[in-house]
Symmetry: C2
Subunit: 111 residues, 2 copies
Amino acid sequence: MIVVMETKQLQFAKALADKNRLKIMTQLCCVWLSVNDLVEQLGVEQSTVSHHLKTLKAAELVLVRQEGKHRYYTLNQEQLTLCCGMLVQSFAPDYAATIVPVSSIQEASGD
Amino acid sequence: MIVVMETKQLQFAKALADKNRLKIMTQLCCVWLSVNDLVEQLGVEQSTVSHHLKTLKAAELVLVRQEGKHRYYTLNQEQLTLCCGMLVQSFAPDYAATIVPVSSIQEASGD
DNA sequence: TTGACATATCGACCAATATCGATATGATTG
DNA sequence: CAATCATATCGATATTGGTCGATATGTCAA
């Protein structure tokens, strides 16, 4: 269980640890964008954007929806919140109890 | 302001994005350890541990205290909590209001 | 000051990964 | 089916960053 969390935390941190991926996440917050939309806004090659999206997808930080020839991505706010809560639980136990009631998030994510 | 946060978030994510640094953080949670203590527990060279501690220090994720010839490190739980709150505010606005009251953390950190 | 110990820094090497260009896969339309 | 557009994957290259060994800096005791 703890090992699983450590792996998840590493994957989460690595997913965030790139300038362009953070930019992508910023762009994808609260909206659905196609890969080409992101290509235009970031100014890097399409293959690069796809590569980053794959990394974010592996970390479950983005959701995908196919529509016609387009694939629309958006940020997975719930997963991000869970990961942050996990970090606080692991590394800030003095704050975890009062600040981040992760249990309530987990309840809300029952699917 | 937003630019500053993005830089901070990148630094935070990069600081966490290494297996050995996560191990160090785990070891330093709630306790003060010397560099040599960490060297023994991680099984890597002292120079490597110092290098990681420098990275964590730059991200303000550890606190240092000199005592005799030893330097004792511990995890900065408050900073970690702030960074996580910042991430949720930036990338999970739908959750930020109800789950992570960052303002209360900032109040508690007034110095 | 000298010696011993603890930690930080430096230089070199190597592994991981970001990027690009080219190509393959997949979806839609005619 | 062929043509076109959108995205994913692949191979090569460049850059970043982790690691080590050696050395420098700093601290304390004799």
